[in-house]
Amino acid sequence: MKFPLAWNRLWAIVLKEFVQMRRDRITFAMMVGIPVMQLILFGFAINTDPKRLPTVVFDASPSAYTRSLVASLENSGYYDVLPPPETVAEAREAMAIGEVQFIVSIPPDFSRQLVRGEKPALLLEADASDPAATGNAISALANLNQSALQHDLKGPLARLGTAPPPFEIRIQRNYNPEGITQYNIVPGLMGTILTMTMIMMTGMAMTRELERGTLENLLAFPVHPLEVMIGKILPYIIVGYIQVTVILVAAYFLFDVPIAGSLPLLLACVLVFLAANLTVGMMFSTIAKSQLQAMQMTFFFFLPSMLLSGFMFPFRGMPHWAQIIGEGLPLTHFLRIVRGIMLKGNGWAETWPNVWPLLVFMGVVMLIGFKRYRKTLD
């Protein structure tokens, strides 16, 4: 039997594929762009060992000992001690928003008790909603009480420096006392799934019209561009809410994730987030020339959203530039909103700081999309 493959025919197909690849610039750019982006994000931006976490210290018995103690917290590399607000309540509020990760409270007679060898205790409250973000910092405390005061406890006090440790650190894990990873991942998953499906669906909805030639007809009808845009977005908002319902039911009944805050507030924020993502999809569809391109652009947006938003890796572990990019992504803010409402029981006041960036984002993207929408075929 003759060998069924002929080189010249095979080569004809290969050549044709290359020509088509070259013609489709966006696809080609994506083929190069996505690996480069992955390299940069995984190589430089991601750090599973976040350091310099924002910490405030309320020192009710300032002394050389407590100063050393704070210094050794900072020296561990995990704690960045910031000037504390006036009251502990304000600090807790900052923790709810996510601006402060740790609150250290040193009781009034700490130094006196220490010197007397009464083994005083200090309290460290951690925002444990993301166990991955605080885990290493808490582990680093294990030996701190042993070593922190070695230099200060000299002479007659030197005996206090030897085992057992001269003081105790009590750790209180707020919002997620058992450090259950699902508490953090499952609400976050809601944002990730919505980002993926919303952007892809709307991105493809408009390019489908272009690809199948129905756009020409649609433009010839007396229909306003805004009517087309909103008309195409609305059905997906309903789809988005179905997804949210499925995830919330699963989170509550399957993974036992608590819903500490208000459900109506959460659902209202979901609407803002959905709208923000849908406008991204619409904008992509005004740029992409085919459904394939729309899908690639979705992926191009989805990848940094997943990696830089704090969904998979602690936000504070990333370098500054990556955090700035992260702040520009809707998922970052939505994750803070969802985790805030579900785990921390945040209300409107704590949620708002992450809602307005979504609105700004949506406005800007909508403007770009609307400018690019074809009213004519020019």
Binding site: R212, G213, T214, L215, E216, N217, L219, A220, F221, P222, V223, T376, L377, D378
Partner: protein
């Protein structure tokens, strides 16, 4: 509506990049008239039609469509014009009824259900109302498209090669429908490549490389061309070359068992044909095809 023309435009031009696709097109289509729009592929017919219905903004030129300014009142024009695209552009994953219903809603038609039903019955689509548009054959798709662009009772139809790829019977039915509509006072601008369709238009315009080359009724165009034609009753394949070399002969078309020979100087051709021994030939009527091929060759000889 002011003026008596359905379409009255002057000097419309459109360029894409450096390519001038339509160059100073002036067109007048009377009310109730079927106006044929002819020209080779890529001659700017589709671009012209798109400018007329507001899908493209002309670079230069001005004019009115149904009395509305083509530049500034495209929204008004869209409401009263039915535009049928060259490529089928309805939703293939919607049924006939769903497609029509969608269109009726876009035009905010009163009595939507009845309108859709009537539209389907007019064009014999009622039996297939629930068939998906994607599964229809070419002729039925084209009927659906016509039904859709008629649904809102437009006063002007712009049809861009509506019968491309449609069988002769369906084409004839389609044209009967067009004439019926014209009889009701609807104006029609239709582009086509078929000469039999051109002959069914009241008036014609011939456009090539963006320029309007000729316009008038089919009879007038034939008369203007000054072409004389002869039928040579012979099917010898070698004859074509000899006929082409005869003095005055500009076109030779092989048609089954005869050759159609034409040129401007009828007497000279007749002389030449007579000089070939044993050739049976007779004078014939010049067709529109010869006229248009002549027009196109003139342009190619002397590009603008």
């Amino acid at each position: 509506m002011n003026g008596e023309y359905a379409i009255d435009v002057h000097g419309l031009s459109k360029s894409f990049g450096h390519k001038r696709v339509v160059n100073g097109l002036s067109l007048r289509v009377e009310k109730g008239e079927i106006y044929g729009f002819l020209g080779p592929n890529g001659s700017g017919k589709t671009t012209s039609i798109r400018m007329l219905c507001g899908l493209l903004t002309p670079d230069e030129g001005s004019g009115t469509c149904l009395g509305f300014d083509v530049r500034s009142q495209s929204a008004e024009i869209k409401k009263q014009v039915g535009y049928m695209t060259q490529r089928f552009s309805f939703y293939e994953d919607l049924s006939i009824r769903e497609n029509l219903d969608f269109v009726a809603r876009l035009y905010a038609m009163p009595n939507r259900k009845q309108t859709v039903q009537a539209g389907m019955e007019d064009l014999g689509l009622a039996d297939r109302a629930d068939q998906l548009a994607g599964t229809l054959s070419g002729g039925w798709k084209q009927r659906l498209a016509l039904a859709a662009c008629m649904l809102h009772r437009p006063r002007l139809l712009l049809l861009d090669e509506p019968t491309a790829g449609v069988d002769p019977k369906a084409r004839r039915d389609f044209w009967d429908e067009i004439h019926r509509l014209a009889g009701q006072g609807i104006s029609v601008l239709v582009s086509t490549h078929y000469m039999d369709e051109a002959a069914r238009c009241h008036r014609l315009a011939y456009i090539a490389y963006g320029n309007l080359l000729a316009s008038g009724s089919p009879e007038a165009l034939i008369a203007q061309s000054g072409l004389a034609s002869f039928d040579v009753k012979d099917d010898d394949p070698a004859l074509a070359e000899r006929l082409r070399k005869l003095p005055g002969v500009q076109q030779v078309v092989a048609m089954g068992n005869l050759y159609s020979v034409s040129g401007r100087d009828g007497a000279l051709i007749e002389q030449g044909l007579a000089s070939l021994p044993g050739l049976r030939f007779e004078r014939a009527e010049t067709g529109l095809e010869q006229v248009f091929i002549q027009l196109m060759e003139n342009v190619q000889d002397a590009p603008p």
